[in-house]
């Protein structure tokens, strides 16, 4: 059944963004309500689409160069995209509502909500795109809105720098992504997912080409989902407002990389080598980020590294050719990570923008709702049964156990680390005695902020159970009905949690100090050095070229040549009448000579 409903999902936030930018920038409250109304409208439309099974969207021809390039603007409406649609619009709505409270006093509220609406358009676009061109355009658009929102408080240097860093890092990955799209298009001659899926055998005939194309497409996901080695932007992106961190840098945009990999799974899964690389990149990211997270002091940075780590799990699942488990984890992660970020946001606001966990403490008494919901999120994150994270993480570990033992081992170790750093954060923030006056005098957040927390906490609680999740996703069934994997996972979790509580109970400062983890494995320093040295090298080449080829060769050569030629000609211009006459006579003689004898 054709319907324009899917287009409404896409266009409602776009209209909201346009209206805010064009008309209501001055009235900040009105802007925020317009944006919230638009996203709620999108949410309702998404639910309607989700409930109707036989829906399809109208298609338009956008670019049509006969026999060369054809792009149809269409929307994919399968189970995957419908689920993502409900997820994105649902979490998006909650975060919009929360933002009403969080950004209440902000001067740039209109700009903030316009960017948030634009982000929703872009994210819906990625979810719904039925071809690579559309996907890429919306992909860039989320990158842009992410840039705007990270740099929302641009008067702070760190925020401006972080926004720039995020944008540039994403450029690196997106360049690879674009090359990958071009490679697929060159081989198949179409950018529509359906055509590519139907003709993927063209690609499989040359495995090397296919592997390169798949890995280049994966490059896009590496940057967007902040995988090693392009993960450096995500922790810095925490300079943005906390709801933005929750929506963009935890629940949706960073998951877009994983979603894209699942969407083009038919290309990725055709190449075993690419899969192996992807699985290991995910694994490395998961364990590296978890290690770094154990030594961070900023509550949002801890959460950012845990996001990296969980995204690593998802990419690992994609690399293990198990798209269902990747999507399952994406689904549950969106709820509990948004919940954790929003909870952190409540704490940050109530503590007057204090983010250092060592300046908090004892907040369980002062912020009871935040504490309870945050704990639910934390337990889901560490994979404590029966919270949602347990089911999805267990599914990924089970797949790893079946297919690659070493990845399974690293995954298990990461689960241990996750429990350790989450409990560290939980204990330091909420228990023991308040370490500062602000922490002692803190108060519970208003309902507009705690409301979304409660909804998300419920979702994080039930999100993993079959009766709930199966409506949205095909839940992976464990082929081996072994109890070993969940038992090991729970054991790792309990040990990690135990260590976390043991080390950090009643502490006023960090008893463990590992410089290399505190400095995030020196990635920033390495990239600084790398960029500086390559830049220095390129600058030297450019300087040489400028000085010797342009200045000395082209400009100097022309000037010198003209001057020399003039100097030569000047010898003839003696000014003596008789010399001229002599030359004239010589010329005549020459002419006569040639006229007669030749």
């Amino acid at each position: 059944m054709k319907s324009s409903l899917p287009w409404y999902v896409l266009l409602l936030p776009l209209c909201s963004a346009a209206v805010i930018v064009l008309f209501t920038r001055r009235s900040r409250t009105l802007s925020s309500y317009i944006s919230v109304a638009a996203v709620l409208g999108s949410f309702v439309c998404s639910c309607l689409i989700f409930l109707r099974s036989d829906i399809s969207a109208a298609q338009f021809t956008w670019i049509d160069i006969p026999d060369v390039f054809k792009v149809l603007l269409g929307l994919t409406l399968d189970r995957l995209s419908k689920t993502m649609l409900v997820l994105v619009s649902g979490v998006g709505s909650l975060i919009h509502i929360y933002s009403l409270g969080y950004m209440r006093e902000d001067k740039g509220k209109s700009r903030y909500f316009a960017a948030l609406s634009l982000f929703m358009v872009a994210m819906f676009g990625i979810v719904l795109a039925n071809n690579f061109v559309m996907l890429f355009i919306f992909w860039e658009l989320v990158g842009f809105t992410s840039y705007v929102l990270i740099g929302h408080w641009f008067e702070r240097d760190t925020a401006a720098e972080a926004a720039k860093k995020a944008f540039l890092t994403n450029r690196v990955g997106d360049f690879g992504f674009m090359l990958g799209i071009l490679m697929v298009w060159m081989a198949i001659g179409s950018v529509a997912f359906d055509d590519i899926a139907a003709r993927v055998s063209t690609l499989t005939s040359s495995p090397a080409y296919l592997a390169i194309a798949a890995l280049l497409i994966f490059c896009g996901a590496v940057a967007k989902s902040a995988q090693f080695p392009l993960h450096v932007w995500l922790p810095d992106a925490m300079e943005g407002p906390t709801p933005v961190s929750a929506l963009i840098h935890a629940a949706t945009m960073v998951a877009a990389g994983v979603y894209m990999l699942v969407r083009v799974g038919f290309i990725i899964q055709a190449s075993q080598n690419a899969l192996l690389v992807i699985a290991w990149i995910g694994t490395i990211t998961a364990v590296m980020a978890a290690l770094i997270a154990t030594q961070q002091d900023d509550i949002k940075r801890i959460l950012a590294y845990s996001t990296l780590s969980q995204l690593g799990y998802m990419v690992m699942a994609v690399g293990l050719a198990s798209n269902e488990t990747a999507m399952f984890h994406l689904f549950t992660h969106a709820f509990f990570k948004a919940l954790l970020f929003l909870g952190a946001g409540c704490i940050i606001v109530m503590l007057h923008h204090e983010q250092n966990i060592w300046k908090m403490g004892g907040l369980a008494k002062n912020l009871p709702i935040t504490f309870l919901t945050f704990s639910v999120g934390a337990l889901a994150l560490i994979g404590c049964p029966p919270f949602s994270g347990f089911f999805s993480k267990d599914a990924i570990l089970a797949v790893a156990y079946e297919r690659n033992m070493s990845i399974f081992a690293v995954g298990l170790f990461t689960a241990f680390l996750t429990a350790f750093y989450v409990l560290r954060m939980l204990v330091v923030v909420f228990f023991s005695r308040p370490r500062t006056d602000i922490a002692r005098d803190s108060d519970e957040a208003p309902l507009v902020m705690t409301g979304p927390l409660i909804v998300l906490a419920l979702l994080a609680l039930v999100g993993g159970f079959g009766f709930f999740a199966e409506r949205f996703l095909p839940i992976p069934h464990e082929e081996q009905a072994t109890l070993l994997v969940p038992a090991l996972a729970v054991a790792a979790m309990l040990v990690g949690a135990g260590f976390g509580i043991f080390f950090y109970r009643n502490r006023t400062s960090d008893p463990i100090d590992v410089e290399i983890l505190r400095r995030k494995f020196y990635f920033d320093e390495l990239y600084d050095w790398l960029i500086q040295s390559t830049q220095e090298f390129l600058a030297r080449i450019a300087a040489f070229f400028d000085r010797w080829i342009i200045d000395a060769g082209a400009v100097g050569g022309t000037a010198g040549g003209t001057w020399g030629f003039g100097a030569l000609l000047r010898f003839i211009q003696v000014g003596n009448l008789q010399a001229y006459a002599f030359l004239f006579g010589l010329g005549i003689v020459a002419i006569i000579y040639f006229a007669i004898f030749h």
Partner: protein, 106 residues
């Protein structure tokens, strides 16, 4: 018997003397006179050609002689202009020597 070659030889000698005069003499008036000599060398050869280039009716080819008249007329005009320039030049520079007159602007 005087042949065309003799006339042309004399004409060539006159021309050479004139050219040499233009080359070596310093006084601009003498140079002008040498120029006239070269013109007359040309005239002489033209007249000689006219005389020896007999047409079918036994008459010489007069067009060359008409040409000579033109040259004489133009030479007269040229001398008038040339002498006038020399006088003006002498008034400005107090010299008629070409080696002193070697720049266009002074």
């Amino acid at each position: 018997m005087v042949t065309l070659g003799d006339y042309l030889l004399v004409s060539g000698m006159l021309f050479t003397i004139g050219f040499a005069g233009v080359m070596v003499r310093r006084n601009i008036v003498i140079i002008l006179m040498s120029l006239e000599l070269m013109l007359n060398a040309a005239n002489l050869s033209l007249v000689a050609f006219s005389r020896y280039h007999v047409q079918p009716g036994g008459l010489p080819n007069y067009s060359a002689q008409i040409f000579v008249f033109f040259i004489i007329t133009v030479a007269a005009a040229e001398v008038a202009v040339g002498l006038a320039i020399i006088v003006a030049l002498y008034r400005a520079r107090q010299t008629t020597h070409v080696e002193d007159i070697n720049s266009l602007k002074f």
